[in-house]
Symmetry: C3
Subunit: 267 residues, 3 copies
């Protein structure tokens, strides 16, 4: 893992200002747009199937999030995904809630058949369901699995032929050649909605600014975990998830390659 | 009213972590998800008609909110509502804007015919329109009515055969046997969008953790009013609704049965 | 420009509490609702085509925002726009992303043909695309143009026969008789999503409370720019766009005609 390269990515994103097209969910769409701006990229979140090709012409990365998927959004996802594949920009898939309902699982399989996904980011249950494992997703939360996140990420990255990011107590990023563990984070990141979705946006932002998508995935995942850790440290006893959420955005906005390199714990 | 039971509900929610399925509006969907997490429950907000039965299998409560209703969402609401009835989990209806347009009023009547609603929560105009009273809803705001919130809640609870929660200067919770007045609150709760919708989520969270849905309704309504009151007290003169909204979420996150029991004013 | 009149508008909005109907985007819909409340008006954001006429009966202004437009929303926009024209309430159009995709550009032309727009608010690329200029919109960001914002606003106001508001380093408001430059603002306003959309809501709020829609457009645009400037001044070095966004809402909530008259820089 070339951490020096990731360190430089922070300023690369701000210079290139990649356009990150999202087809995402209603719940966290505002957070996704703001976190993309916070890291220095430019978000766009069009939903109409008919404008997907035009938007992808302008885009540097595509983030697909299943949070509040329906048939109309799914059609847009397919159109955008295929255009992104053709153009060669990275496609990031966040399979929110896959495994919780058959509808989501089927749509996810369909998407994987029609679109080449470059980076998958989910919790362990979602990634497990994506590779045909038993469904343990409870709504949008991870259930218990018999294998470790590391094993699962390795299996998934092979099976899906995609960089696989699993967030959890310990985050992991794997492709068919390597696996990185990220030991930053704080449990409060699971107490607010959208930290997973925003991680997808961060990965999209980094991957739109470099050809090294593995580094981009590590960067995006570790920025969220490190920012969560740093945010919690500053809070007062009386603060709760309202303040945490606001200052998390501040931390991401203020994060530099320097801060990241000094405080990230990769192995 | 067994306040000791409500006091204990705060930790029960955190232990059981009920899954609260929402079919809600685009405006406040993020606030609803975060407030559900803040009180210790788990939110899910799927919208596809086809996955409603599967999602209800996992859910402990269902919150239906009419804020940005359209035909597709209405179809999902009916599917989810009927599945919830079959499973026996509580259905909470927030008839946002009912009375303002014929579309909403008709959809609300349709919903009440096809789904057994266990708890209704709205402002006085909305509840009045729901039981066939004259329409006075102005957009999503309450208009003037000739009867008191208490009378209206009693009438509505009988007519709808549902626990009825009316929020206003004085909040009331009624069923066919009893009525509770909550004397907490602050007018700033009407200066930010979503406090009503979030009250629905809180009621959903509590009712997903106990069989005493009347207690859950009192708990959910009073947590919002008490948190609003406590939040306003801490603000500086220069603070506005931006800060109020953030700290309101902090207050709800920090609220315990102990704080609630000491400061709630029920009669 | 009668600044004394604008100064009084702040209390007029709070007294009249105009109902501002929005058909807007999923990304910033919550911010739009809250900023409408912050300035003292009342927001409503219904989306169903079938209820548009009923909602317009209650409304004092209509804000149309193209952010996440699709065919269903477009149909609702047309219905609402025509009803608003008939009633004589102001129609404000925010052509988000027009010029970025043919779909958006076509829908914008269609809207302008079927609905009389009274006030247009956009960045320079969007306004340029709206009057048939070359497309330079990159996602939702402004590209470079060969003419100044002032020239463009004058051209657009003539061509569209509408008050035209262009936000940028220098904001301008023009109609066929006059042009006003606003020299307040801060670049951080472009670092958070929704400040443009919220400006549309502010213009809608003011124009729903007065017949002088030009004054309302100047008021709405300048409140956002002045509030951004005032907010940035209060921030600590460690604050980022999370805190900026929260305090921006506070500033708008706290703004009075007095503060505005003392600090606004019009020319």
């Amino acid at each position: 893992m070339n951490t020096e390269h990731i360190k430089e990515l922070f300023s690369t994103v701000k210079q290139r200002r990649p356009l990150v097209h999202h087809i995402t969910n209603q719940v966290t769409i505002n957070d996704c747009a703001n976190v993309t701006l916070a890291i220095g990229a430019s978000p766009v979140m069009a939903v109409s199937t008919e404008e997907m090709e035009d938007m992808i012409k302008l885009a540097d990365a595509l983030v697909i999030n299943f949070g509040t998927i329906n048939d109309a959004l799914y059609a847009a996802m397919i159109r955008a995904g295929r255009a992104a594949n053709k153009k060669g920009i990275p496609v990031i898939l966040d399979p929110v809630g896959v495994g919780a309902t058959r509808y989501r699982t089927e749509k996810a399989y369909g998407f994987l058949q029609l679109v080449k996904v470059n980076i998958v980011r989910g919790n362990s249950s979602e990634v497990n369901a994506l590779i045909g494992g038993e469904a343990t997703t409870r709504g949008v939360d991870a259930g218990e699995l018999s294998i470790s996140n590391e094993e699962l990420a390795l299996q998934a990255s092979k099976k899906l032929n995609a960089i696989t990011v699993i967030s959890g107590k310990q985050d992991v990023v794997a492709n068919d050649e390597q696996i990185i563990r990220i030991d930053n984070g704080h449990e409060w990141l699971t107490n607010v909605t959208g930290t997973g979705c925003m991680t997808g946006s961060l990965i999209g932002s980094f991957s739109g600014a470099t050809d090294d998508w593995f580094a981009a995935a590590v960067a995006g995942m570790s920025v969220m975990s490190l920012a969560g850790e740093r945010t919690k440290k500053q809070l007062k006893e009386s603060d709760g998830i309202g303040t945490f959420r606001v200052k998390l955005m501040d931390e991401i906005f203020q994060m530099t390659g320097q801060i990241w390199a000094e405080e990230v714990r990769l192995s």
